[in-house]
Symmetry: C2
Subunit: 166 residues, 2 copies
């Protein structure tokens, strides 16, 4: 909080005046970034995709390329989630929103009879959500040094392998 105040050229207490708790500041930051980077517009191609496979492609690409934009604040929230219930809730909200996108992909695949047989819709969403998690991005891109393109390409392939009927 001190560092942020300093960076903003304002006193530490002024920050607390606007954001009583650390987690409030982080929540407000995500709201701001989501609006600034226009997450909704980025997801539009997925929503208007003509079929399940195209929808999956567009979804992984949109979300996967959004992760680096929000990684900083997401990481901060995630590191609070162990001890702070509100941080946990904030993260769960986002995961819930992301899961809805996953379910839309899965529903479309299922309607086209292209969903793999060995998964319920719930399990498929769990697995899809796991594959596109921030943690996996962090590992591949930040730890292993993969390029953003390589990441998108392989996570897409993996998601298809997991969800789509052979």
């Amino acid at each position: 909080m001190s560092d942020i105040a300093k960076e903003a050229g304002v006193s530490r207490q002024a920050v607390y005046l606007h954001f009583p708790k650390r987690v409030e500041l982080l929540k407000a930051t995500t709201r701001f970034v989501d609006q600034q980077k226009d997450i909704d517009e980025r997801l539009a191609p997925s929503r208007s995709a003509p079929n399940g496979v195209a929808r999956l492609d567009a979804y992984v690409e949109a979300w996967g390329n959004y992760i680096p934009e929000i990684y900083g604040v997401v990481h901060a929230i995630l590191s609070m989630a162990d001890t702070d219930a509100e941080a946990r809730d904030t993260w769960e909200d986002r995961m819930h929103a992301l899961r809805e996108g996953c379910q839309a992909v899965i529903g479309m695949l299922s309607a086209e009879n292209r969903l793999t047989g060995d998964l319920s819709h719930e399990q498929a969403a769990d697995l899809f959500l796991t594959l596109i998690s921030v943690q996996n991005w962090e590992h591949l891109v930040r730890q292993c040094g993969w390029s953003q393109d390589m990441y998108i390409q392989h996570i897409t392939a993996l998601s298809k392998a997991a969800l789509i009927k052979a």
Copy 2:
């Protein structure tokens, strides 16, 4: 540290006497658990597997079933890794050891010409390591409520889909 001392029926300072820093205690705990639960023995079936696919199966099963045994202390180390360089090193050491197992699987698959063509050995190890990460276990088993069996089964299938030639 207070809680641990209390649980151990000893003063807080007695703990600091044996483990000067929090991270030392966690490192010692992992060493102890590894020895107690005999991680080496658990991985033996993978090392003696007759072929790459069997080795992959055995590796995912051994490690995947080991994760819940060490999750507590691993989580504690991981949550320190952001701020503590030694915690980061400790975790990297373990990841390095895990990666060697991944590389053994990949090397064997490659020797049998069963490794997928669109991945270098390094990339294959990165991807394999990502799939069997503690974070993915955490998400599927703890968050989504998957059974240990279901987790092993699907992560194994996913690893095969990612690594093995069609």
